[in-house]
Amino acid sequence: MARLSDMRPVYVIGVGMHPYQFASETLYIDMGLTAVRGALEDAGIAFPEVESAYVGCTGIGMAAGRIMFNHLGSTGLACTQIENASASGSSAFQLAVLEVASGRRDVSLAVGVDKTGDQVRAVQKEKVNRLSDTATIPLVKYALMAERLKKEKGLSAEDLAMVAAKNHTNASKNPNAQFRKPRTVEQVLNSTLVAGTTTSLMCCPRGEGAAAAIVASEDAIRRLGIAGGRPIRVKASVLQSEQPQVGREIPSVTLAQRVAEMAYDEAGIAASDLDCVELHDAFAIEEILYTETFGLAPKGAGQHFLRDGGSAIGGQCCVNSSGGLIGQGHPLGPTGLGQIHELTRQLRGENGDRQQPGARVGMAHMIGLGSISIAHILTKD
């Protein structure tokens, strides 16, 4: 299997976003165009320079990108719509990266845009019943895992609340975030109880928004005159799907570890090299689990890494400086590209009061229902 490191280098040259928000009358085209125009402006290039586009969305309908791009001028670019559940934006980014890495295109766009729409899960059409009526609801799986870890490792509701308070507080400083209020541990604990010890503020919101990233080859960067120091290298791009459950580990957590290890290998880094990570914290327990599976904290010590400030901005490796899915939001199609937006700004040193000092290596990680896991490693050359 060819790896990204075997192909020609690919760089993120521009990122843009439309803020994530609760369901509204805003048209998806307005949100998508805002993100794409933001990315073009950030890169300092015009739309006709973009040779191909991958559009990640889950609830808009067929041919969303084609309709949206008509309003940017009919350049005839190659256009493909991607649906990979929560990882739709991440998958759009991966395909844009691989297309440039392979030499097929020099400049490619990935855009995620979504509305709270008619997302229908294919599992509902499988016609296979489950013993529990909540068996396909991820929140329940993770709430059960939190309960188990409470008994086995002393993980407390306060630990879960600490994740959510950190991410809500990070989001309060992020103009693109859906939630803009700093939250305390007490406020998180006192929000509506949902399942086990999981409260509503420990869960990501549903919403809408858009995010975009433009990737380019070194040839294109030279040709387009993009300033040195701004392009951010994509060093690894890995996607795998889960295998049958072994023992009591949640398959998506085991899968996340496998994907992270493959990504580290492809990028030639170790977990200790990571300065900033944007990870799939749809539920607070996930952040604790993934900091362990990604090797940021020893196994079983994720809550200590959190309590000691290891995942705070300015800590060993800041986790979800954007606010993550819990704070910045999780509109599905854009979510993975919102992570690329955050990491690109971190690695350029442009992230304002959410800046991780000296950030040079970052990882974006998403889980898509089913499950798939996808990771990208970005570096400042």
Partner: protein
Amino acid sequence: MTALEKPDLYEIDGTGPALKLIFGQCAACKEQHFPHTGYGCPRCGARPEQVTPEARDGRATLLTFITLHAKLAPGITPPCVVAEAEIAPGMIEEVMLSGSAAQYRDGMTIVARAEEVERNGETVLACRFAPEEEV
């Protein structure tokens, strides 16, 4: 007689409320899986004709349980209790428990039984797990 809510997953075990769970037994890989479906063996990919349904005792070991406080799915009425249970060696499934969390502790034996629930205005028999001594 009241119909079972999910007859592809379980069947009445004798004359009482106890249920048997319907596993799939694969002739190709000799492995068992749950639930049995019409699609073949999820372990080795064998075609459906290689897999036969096999009803087994609905006894399980309770691993973890939580109370749901929100209506997360159309079929549930919170508060209710969901759990992870080992329904056969190495086979862990999410199940729904009868009654409240106070009746349960990790590691205890629970048994599948039929309980009446309302679905679309009709009464059907759903699978709920309960402490062994209650079944």
